[in-house]
């Protein structure tokens, strides 16, 4: 070792200059507490009228919120990992457009009542199945194949989405104003009107997918290294991506069929999670996204309903804010 080397060896090791920051675990704990508070506020405060009537309803809505926060939050985080990109959202594949088209066609063929009345689990399952089928078709056709490309698949999905949108918009023009109004409600995200008997199925799906994602959390971390490096350390890259994409499709499609489209909610929540989690690791980011989603929805609904008396507009506001955040993220410095 030269003199220079030995001098360097005695120098102050790098990294000690940084401020002591909260550990990811502590951050999760704090956010979990805030989430609990948000849930409590939503459930118990400002109950006007009968407790026995209001409380079960609120519980149901809370259930829907949990599902939406889980599905969109985790779905978007994993989607970002899979696409190596933090700008796209899973809905870009055309879920929202397909959902809109399905709802529009329903109203067109069966009238407004078909949408207004309780639809039943079969319809929910059918809609989810259709969306997952579309997604899987895209994956196998455009991604898994020899010349497969992830972004190619996304682009085709997007274009299909645009085609669906064209059709939907046209059919909507032909509807009567009442039919149109009823349809608009469906299309805007309707956490408050999710029937309670859907929730067991919804929770079941979330738990199953959640367990699978949790068990693969280290592999998800490895995916962040990029295709070549991940393959080098033994991750079956394409197979892992395909599995993740199918899980994401299942989560997002189901959440959309359940509570309507929420394109930028996942983006909003995921982006905040990256900032707040304090680590890149999925074992911290995924739960953080879920908790932040719960906070956003519970506190959001609480404020909208009791402070602004505009309870029905929550999802619209969230989409709006998420969209603005998206624009902001795009215009910041740095590379995409």
């Amino acid at each position: 070792m030269s003199v220079l080397d030995s001098v360097r060896a005695r120098a102050v090791p790098a990294g000690t200059g940084e401020r002591r920051r909260l550990s990811p675990g502590v951050r999760l704990a704090i956010v979990a507490v805030i989430a609990a508070v948000a849930v409590a506020c939503y459930l118990f405060l400002f109950i006007r009228g009968s407790f026995d009537f209001t409380f079960p309803r609120r519980l149901t809505v809370l259930g829907a919120m949990l599902v939406a926060a889980f599905a969109h939050g985790m779905g978007t985080v994993v989607f970002h990992t899979v696409t190596d990109n933090r700008i796209l959202t899973p809905s870009i594949i055309g879920f929202d457009s397909l959902y809109t088209l399905m709802q529009t066609l329903t109203v067109f063929f069966f009238g407004a009542t078909a949408i207004a009345t309780s639809e039943g689990i079969p319809k929910l399952v059918l809609q989810t199945a259709l969306m997952v089928a579309l997604a899987t078709l895209l994956y196998r056709w455009l991604f898994s194949g020899r010349f497969g490309s992830l972004f190619l698949m996304l682009l085709v999905g997007v274009v299909l989405g645009m085609a669906f949108d064209s059709l939907s918009t046209f059919i909507q023009r032909v509807l009567s104003p009442t039919e149109y109004d009823m349809l608009s409600v469906e299309l805007m995200g309707r956490l408050s009107s999710v029937p309670g008997d859907y929730l067991p199925l919804a929770f079941g799906i979330c738990i199953v997918v959640g367990v699978i994602l949790w068990r693969r959390r280290h592999r998800l971390d490895a995916l962040l290294l990029g295709r070549d490096t991940a393959t080098n350390i033994g991750v079956a890259y394409k197979r892992e991506l395909t599995l993740m994409l199918v899980l994401i499709a299942l989560l997002v499609a189901f959440a959309t069929a359940l509570a309507g489209p929420m394109t930028f909610f996942g983006f909003l929540v995921a982006t905040l999670a990256y900032q707040i989690a304090g680590s890149y690791k999925h074992q911290y980011v995924m739960p953080m996204a879920f908790l932040l989603g719960v906070i956003t929805l519970a506190f959001g609904q609480f404020f909208m309903q009791h402070i602004f008396y505009a309870g029905g507009f929550l999802t619209v506001i969230i989409e709006f804010v998420g969209g603005i955040l998206f624009l902001f993220m795009l215009l910041r410095k740095g590379t995409l």
Partner: protein, 322 residues
């Protein structure tokens, strides 16, 4: 190349035939005879048919050539006004006018739309500089998301001001309400087309990047500004008169490049011709398939365009890396 020698004249004839058909076909059939003898037919012809057909041609030329300009400037094959957010911004401008100045003349509406379209495209161009790999598919994906954000903001505002069904009329751009006295501003598109033709080389150089462009003496910012201005004008005017026309700027330039290569001077006239033909065909289909009702051209185009685009993209599949 010899197949082009046959193909191109055939295309020209087909487009000409489509133009004639567009002038003739409709709820009120017009023949050459009735034109000469029937004053009512003549009136119908000049008030409705001719403006409609001209509007179709101009709108197609506007969107196709805007696509070419944007593709030259961004060096990306998939960029066009509806995949970069431009058209959606124009729509937002239109909505803003409807909310703030509901009685505004079409001229005012157009100017405001153009301003919005310009701002929106500049946003896209700025975002583009952040993307590392310019030729990648991620560019149109980001542009489409950008468009989706603007679109959802528009829907939100429209919902608040009870203008939802008007905006959805805009969204399925149609030509059924185009009459004389309403469509004239579209002539501005001709000016855009001519300028695009004259400046094509400059746009190409600008597309190579600021450093390279400045190195050969091009005033980079100026050229980009001008290009975006032309696109904004074309899109803004089309938006107000006709509405949202998807895919044309995407499909047509790529189709022409596939046939003729990438020489813009040679391609531009054909881009205009084929774009016009495609839109005319979609409009005719929309007019005849469910007569007497009408499916707006942009809806037909939305479906047809999607199919064509996906086919295009699949053919390129082998060139595209993950």
């Amino acid at each position: 190349m010899t197949k082009n020698k046959v193909l191109l004249p055939v295309i020209s004839v087909v487009v000409l035939a489509l133009t004639v058909a567009s002038l003739m076909v409709g709820g009120y059939d017009i023949t050459l005879e009735s034109l000469i003898h029937d004053p009512a037919a003549r009136e119908m012809f000049f008030i409705s048919r001719v403006p409609r057909t001209l509007a179709l041609i101009f709108a197609a030329v506007a969107m196709s050539i805007s696509g070419v300009i944007m593709q030259l400037i961004t060096q990306n094959k998939f960029v066009e006004p509806t995949t970069a957010g431009t058209a959606q911004w124009a729509g937002l401008g239109l909505l803003a006018t409807l909310i703030v100045v509901p009685d505004a003349s079409p001229m005012v509406k157009m100017v405001i739309s153009v301003i919005f379209a310009f701002a929106g495209t500049m946003v896209f161009i700025v975002v583009l500089r952040r993307i590392a790999l310019k030729s990648s598919i991620i560019v149109p994906l980001v542009g489409i998301m950008l468009g989706a954000v603007v679109g959802s903001i528009t829907t939100f505002l429209a919902g608040n001001f009870d203008l939802l069904q008007s905006m959805s009329a805009w969204r399925s751009g149609g030509f059924s309400s185009v009459v004389r006295g309403f469509y004239e501003p579209l002539w501005a598109v001709l000016a855009v087309a001519v300028l695009a033709y004259l400046l094509a080389d400059r746009f190409t150089i600008a597309g190579l990047g600021k450093d390279l462009a400045t190195n050969v003496g091009l005033k980079y910012e100026q050229v980009v500004f001008l290009g975006v201005m032309l696109v904004a004008i074309a899109t803004g005017v089309t938006t107000v008169v006709v509405g949202f026309i998807p895919f044309l700027g995407l499909i047509v330039p790529n189709l022409v490049s596939m046939m003729l290569g990438d020489d813009m001077h040679k391609n531009l006239p054909w881009v205009a011709v084929i774009g016009a033909g495609l839109l005319l065909a979609c409009d005719l289909v929309g007019r005849t398939i469910v007569a007497p009702m009408e499916i707006p051209a942009s809806v037909v185009l939305g479906v047809v365009g999607a199919v064509v685009f996906i086919t295009l993209v699949l053919r390129q599949r082998r060139h595209v890396s993950a």
